[in-house]
């Protein structure tokens, strides 16, 4: 029995491997990476300047180098529609560019029913509810509630007439300051 135990101890000692680090504990690194990823995705999602450019919406380039304004309701003028906020439902669907170049949006969308009018009724209706919400938000933050701000995301080929109609309608809906979103010319 003594001989057996001695042989067992010897064999165990012989076979015992040195404690070596054969793995890296990367749990902390993984936690960090996941937090950074969530943070970046959140930043991208909440940023007013996270624009998905496409054939329908290409921003003009500018020499401007200031940081983009983050405050304001986004109004998007693409080649095919006008959208308010982050929603994907168009407030107004746009006709061809040739038609818009003449007298802007169709007269049936105008307040007076005349093509010369600048006030776009469907856009104003959408903006009014946004304005009410923004007014309450500003009041809760102790900001000036007399006016709201808008970020205009317009396609580079948008006719000036349509741009003015949108800006005018915004002004009529108590949006007193606009930020025209452009792409920095050195951004590739």
């Amino acid at each position: 029995m003594v001989r057996y135990k001695a042989a067992l101890r010897l064999a165990i000692r012989k076979n015992k491997r040195e404690t070596e680090i054969d793995f890296l504990n990367i749990t902390a690194l993984l936690d960090l990476m996941t937090i950074i990823l969530v943070f970046l995705l959140q930043s991208m999602a909440s940023s007013a300047t996270s624009i998905a450019e496409s054939q329908d919406l290409t921003l003009p380039r500018s020499v401007m180098s200031d940081e983009p304004a983050q405050e304001g309701v986004r109004v998007t003028i693409s080649k095919s529609a006008i959208l308010v906020g982050d929603g994907s439902d168009p407030v107004v669907e746009l006709p061809s560019r040739e038609s818009l170049m003449q007298s802007g949006l169709d007269a049936r969308h105008k307040r007076s029913g005349q093509p010369g009018d600048l006030y776009i009724v469907p856009l104003a209706n959408a903006l009014q509810s946004v304005r009410e919400f923004d007014k309450r938000l500003r009041a809760s933050r102790n900001l000036d509630t007399s006016t709201s701000e808008a970020i205009i995301v317009a396609d580079a080929e948008t006719p000036y007439r349509l741009l003015i109609e949108v800006l005018y309608t915004l002004g009529q809906c108590e949006f007193g300051k606009y930020h025209l979103l452009v792409r920095k010319s050195d951004s590739g």
């Binding site: 001989r3 993984l30 970046l40 500018s62 304004a69 080929e157 000036y160 930020h179 792409r183």
Partner: protein
Amino acid sequence: MDTPQDHPLSPAQRSKIRRLSRPREAAPGDEAGELNIIPYLDIIMNIVVFVMTSLAVIFYSTIDSEPPSLGGGKPHERASSKALNLVALVVSDGVTLKTAGGQIDSGCASLGSGITVPRLSDGHHNLAEITRCARFLKSQNERFAEETQVTVTGNPGTPYREIIEVIDALRRDDLGRCDPPTKEDGDRTGCLFPDIHFGQAR
């Protein structure tokens, strides 16, 4: 006296010694038996790099403005009756500049009814000439030096892209920049007309 060598181990004992002395395999949950999360980590790393690259490639900026004025691009705030009151009208043939004194003729040297800065032969606006003319007009009187606003008006069909190009031409300095000058910039003046208003001809 008997020594251990005198009594060799039996096959059963040798077998048991081999079994008991064998290094134990790490069970799941033991330190060495962690889940293999390297593929997951690879994916996370790729996504992080992709997201950071996406953020770094495209930069945006904004041009601030206020509601458009009606009536041929009347400036929002007239600094005084003797102010420059520069108005840029973007038309199909080029850009016409107007001041409180009247419309600027082609060449930017005198008043007249011509297009102040005609388009280039390739169809693009002559942006360098627009900048030069705007700077020339601003330098005509000491009172104009403090003036920062310009009203931009376009034909109904003028693309937004051209409006932004003309705005840039009216804002930028010699170096094509429109940021406040710093001590390192020396004599750089900064923006020509940084305050942009939009007008709409009746």
